[in-house]
Symmetry: D3
Subunit: 319 residues, 6 copies
């Protein structure tokens, strides 16, 4: 069976060639594929700066810097995995519900074929559609939601679907298991204490940045792992969880966020979870002159892919 | 009756103070108001780069450079007019039809009160809603549509309302009189000759940039004036009508467009028409490091306002 | 009595409307006003990059992201306070002493009316004029001066008033009580040890960044609170106190500064002081493509305003 | 036989998907292919600003704006042609002669298979290698060299191969027929009259910008067509031929160049020539915040491709 | 006697070495010097965007592109001239009158030594001080003032010295001969017809851009040459005379200005005048990502220097 | 004997004058010179983004912010040292081996004269040539190599000299003493464990960022000092050792690097070593809109120079 891995930059310079994620083959097949990177260039549902529709392009562009050995986890990712760049979902500009249907149509077959989707938003509203597709296959999932914002408004501008509401919708639609789920990194000015209480009432464990500063990242990781347990899990990472110094290019930044090393440690610390899908959202390349936000996003996707490789190793080791 | 005019920059430096269009008072009244600048920060319906939602803010920011005497037309605009910055329409992110209703609700009372709206997009899809409001008051209008693109697709991404379809919709809805209307500046790669024929079949006089280069701007102006005649008219100016050198900050640029002096001459040449409303659309401040696109847009709005002042003078002179 | 609070972004998207600080009403009244945000767009007195004159505009632009509940301090700010955006002082380009007179004329009536001014520079030379006005009303003030630089030169380029001299002038003019005042965050290459000694001789407690790295922020906060005590206090925050990674857009950056979380903790830690005024200075929007510096500045202003709200709560609670 | 044409942007938004030139299939085949777009990301041989190695990526990114009907020439390009994005040549950073070998190895088989290469530099030194490959197949070619600079130095920094020398080398190596060739658009400060005389002594017809301003573009086109005649021809277009207002993002700009409309007219005016290959070089995306240079470059490539389509039509019409 | 000329870029790449104007020696001597480039980094007196203090640095940086033969005028400049980069005047931030004294002190000895100063602003207020120095040596001068704005306000913000007043001050102080002087390129919104009448009452011949569009550049040049005659002349060129497409990086842009080719032709057309000094002002490098404004400014300085060389040739030829 | 020190910015504003490093005299002499800043504008050998050829210019531009007293080390640098800006090496674009010869020719006489070179790259390939020159004079040196990448590939793109291979070459050529040398800060995706093992097999002590996070900076410093001992040492600092938040403007960034305060502490902690030369490489000004990368690089050079001053003090104190 064909195995898919990145083109090496040792002989072919990485700045040569069509830009795909990490120089992976752009193939629209499920055959022999363990994970697929998928772009969702939708940015209509945002409450401030738009431009995240260009994130898949921007992340691909700088992701050619990535290489197959992850020294932080000491694993050669493609010794264990075969992966592709599946391209983008054709979204429908200005029509969120049509766009949701397109995303669902793209993700459900991937999930059915056992391919783990690693998605690049787009704005955070896309997670609803991804989870609809995945829950149809895997049942309700645990979610590790890493973000500055709870995104659990009921109505936003009088509407149910925006980038401020997805994590309420996915509970209401029965797509996630809130008792197995956490929201991490939450902070910043909001409308009132009800914003946080709303999340907790939905069943999430909400871990604010203020609490993280007190208890430390290791405690947070223990709490996440205890809560998620062996449930199939989806990781949804809004780049604005990270401090604007490290991730300036996003639509609704919040000061006082994770440093680069912290967010990397957080994702690496999810090692062992039963990852069924993930997304990294809200990158705006037009605000990223040196591509540092897109490159951090690409690395976080790489760390998520690494988790899959590690799980294979450990599964193999356990066998 | 109160008259509204800009704050002078002779004593108060123009970089001091809250940014309104041209330093006009920000007043939400119709009383004693001849024209009102209105922002429509909607950019969801675009086929390439987003970001025009920030255009009203970006245009206001540099519009403080404008001053009350227009030497090209030799008129002191506020000797004849009273005008305000009416603020923005509260759009609904991700929902074009709700947004249309909000725009209509804002524009209809303005029109009824005899206030001429000078709108700043947003993307070009907003014109449908503006014309709905105006046509309810004034009946169907002539339109001078200045643009690189015909914007008369039927369906775009399978949808009726996007920034590629408004000038078909406004004919279908009976809001414009195509036999009194023109499309000017059209050019650039397209799907096929049917794109232009579609416009002509709707009844527009389509004047391509290629034809303008041959016959010259004066002939074009004669043709426009003959066609529009004394019909009440709406001018809709997509900044991508202008060459990217002069207006780089737009979502779907086309090379080979008007120079700055040409587009100014084109708008000035509309002197005498019975202007009932106008919009300037598709400016994206995030792509405009030196604000030259926003400043050209602000000047074109100023020239449109000047047309109103001139009409008053001439009407007065004629009385 | 009218109370002034920000427009909610829950229904009206924050990118809609005239930009005022935090979407506060732009009102030039003292009636029923607890605090007033005031811009001072002066940048002539700087020793390197100019452009801070656009800071009030740039900070207002991104400050629309702020919302009324501060979770770090757990207070709904506008349950306790009424505040406005008072607009900008009309400065006099090229003439610092005339500009000082304009600033004094704007600030003194505010102070007399019991309105706490939260100013946005401009460059740091403006603090002299603010303190002249405030000291006339409140008598000499304690100052918490957060900065990379001491700003206590005697003559700079042979002149008494530049952005390198204000904290000497305010002592000489008897506007501050140096024995109640501190300079925090000082660091970076300088002319000689005399630069620091000069500050100490003026009576300031000077806490360098090097010392802060050793003793930690909590010790610093205890020292500040002990020194200031219950004196009426002015907080003057030069954004270059913050590391260039977090605040790149300033004229005279210094490496090795506060992180975003540290500077937020520093300001939050001033809780309980008797704040009579504050300024945040030296932001240059033209160097801030993703607006991260302006947004940090806006948040620091928000934390300063929050201190006022907390003091009200505590005062109320104590009653 | 398979025919290759761009994906339509009418249903799939152009900002969705892996970026290839004009959304053409990325296929490495010659079968059924009339033209192939090829990137050459080499920028080491430049005399001022580097960064043109990213041009193929940057041009692809914005080229998704292009559509299949060229209204200026009134031809549906893909009714007559099948084309692909062939990807990039793997260059060898820091080693120009190795890089030349790689380019030759890529281009010769294309030419042998009758595929017309439309190349994207890279810096102008790459043309030598392209012409080596093409001349091996087609014999010496006429060249239409559109540029601000003659690029006919003998030694540059003591070396034979830099971006200042290619049009001397190609004559010396017998790759071009100078008596059939022209250099157009030449201007700007230089070392001495010998710079121009050198070109003329090599046999080129050198048409300066100063002469073009006098005699007009139509005369220039007549002169080019008369000189080239029916010889097989290569068009080499350095984007710095265009004025910096229209093409700011290049390494060695010269003021006083072609406008966008002029350069488009110049390329369109080559209609009828027997085009065997072309390149557009010296675009630097890092200097192109609104992508206007890259988009003009993409359009010029599109016009060159259109020339091929027209030749097919006319040939067909003549049959 | 030592002759000073630029370092050649044929062997030493132009991007190597300390940046001086055109790679001229940085020498503070008058001996054997025909012209001296002098920077005046003052930008405090501006009415909108600041940042022109960095213009000398920015212009020097890109001026290394210039080479010694001017093909438009067909002269090898340094066959006839010896020139240096004299460095910058040490201005006094925030104090315009002190700064004037420094400029005068720098320029008067240059003029006395027969060295022609070619100055780089800074903002336009610096011209007053330059002309004070030159008039002391040469008597009152004719001025060719190329600008979008008349700069003949009496008081600006209540002050006599700003960038809006210099061309009134120089007449009042008897430094220029208005009957021999012109203002060219004037346009754009202003306060009222009095703005232009004021200039004419001072004695200037005012040629608006609108008039230039009608009568053409050749007629303008004839009018300038007739008016100036054989008077010693100073050319003062505000870069905002040029259209924002060609010169975006300036503080108070005006749409509808000169193209690059027009402004070059205008300066070249001054051939034969008795040039005693010149300045190019109001460039803001922070707004110039591709350095096109600074490069046009550098070329205009080069054309001014070329005029000196031509005058030598012709004088020599006449001998 | 002449002593060379920076121009003071207390009277002459730092934004006035030709830009040299730290406003040091630009003198090409060895006489009375302790250290010389030298630029090496070479960027051809890079594996991703080019543009580091402009680093010497960009670092000089912002380095004018530096002042002579280093408070972190409490030393007035120029009480102990005399230093100059020696200008740049004339590199040969496109020819790495010729460029190496030019670098060697420039550095060897400096080293022979006892002048310590503080170099600014260019890309990291330049270090080979610097060490060739220094080793000829001082014998093999210890190296403290601070970088995200090991740079010890054997062949890169089939070639021996690129920016991925220098630290293998310098061992092979006998220029360094690997048993006295360390590589610090190494991290990020790579080809495989062999990348790190290769370095260790060459004899380097490799300290990854992951290890540094565990053991802390003080332990690292002890390890470095123990290893280097009293060997003559060269410090080679690739700016990508620093986190992209602090140093965005580099060609091959890696997330998870040093903060600004950490990298400063690391360099300051080298106090006491016998420093014979240093370089700071891989800064790309075109990606650095607020100059924060260049300013950090300038500060790191300043800290390296400070080490020389401290060594003099201590040597003196010891005498």
């Amino acid at each position: 069976m064909t195995r898919y891995e990145p083109k090496s930059s040792l002989h072919s310079p990485r700045f040569c060639g069509i830009r795909t994620f990490m120089r992976l083959p752009h193939v629209e097949t499920f055959d022999g594929v363990d994970f697929a990177v998928v772009g969702i260039p939708w940015d209509d549902a945002v409450s401030h700066r738009s431009g995240a529709r260009m994130a898949p392009e921007g992340i691909r562009r700088i992701s050619v810097m990535l290489r197959p050995w992850n020294p932080a986890q000491n694993v050669k990712v493609f010794d264990h995995l075969s992966g592709v760049d599946y391209g983008d979902v054709d979204i429908v500009p200005g029509y969120i519900e049509d766009t949701y249907r397109r995303i669902e149509a793209a993700f459900e077959p991937l999930a059915r074929a056992g391919v783990v989707p690693i998605a690049m938003g787009g704005d955070h509203s896309v997670t609803v559609a991804e989870l609809r597709a995945l829950a149809r296959v895997h049942g309700p999932l645990a979610v590790v939601h890493i973000d500055a914002h709870v995104d659990t408004l009921d109505l936003h501008f009088g509407k149910k679907y925006t980038h401020g509401t997805p994590f309420r919708r996915v509970v209401e639609e029965g797509l996630v298991r809130p008792e197995r789920s956490v929201q991490v990194g939450i902070r910043g000015p909001n409308y009132g204490p009800g914003d946080y209480e709303g999340s907790r009432r939905l069943g999430y464990d909400l871990i604010t940045m203020y609490e993280i500063e007190e208890i430390g990242l290791n405690a947070v990781l223990r709490r996440i792992r205890a809560r998620v347990g062996d449930a199939p899990v989806f990781v949804s990472l809004d780049i604005d969880a990270v401090d604007p110094a490290y991730a300036p290019a996003t639509g609704t930044p919040e000061v006082g966020g994770f440093t680069g090393r912290e967010i990397l440690a957080l994702v690496r610390g999810l090692r062992g979870l039963d990852l069924r899908g993930a997304d990294v959202v809200e990158v705006i390349p037009a605000l990223d002159p040196a591509e540092i936000t897109a490159y951090l996003a690409a690395n976080l996707m790489y760390e998520l892919i690494t988790l899959l490789a590690l799980r294979r190793t450990e599964a193999g080791a356990g066998a």
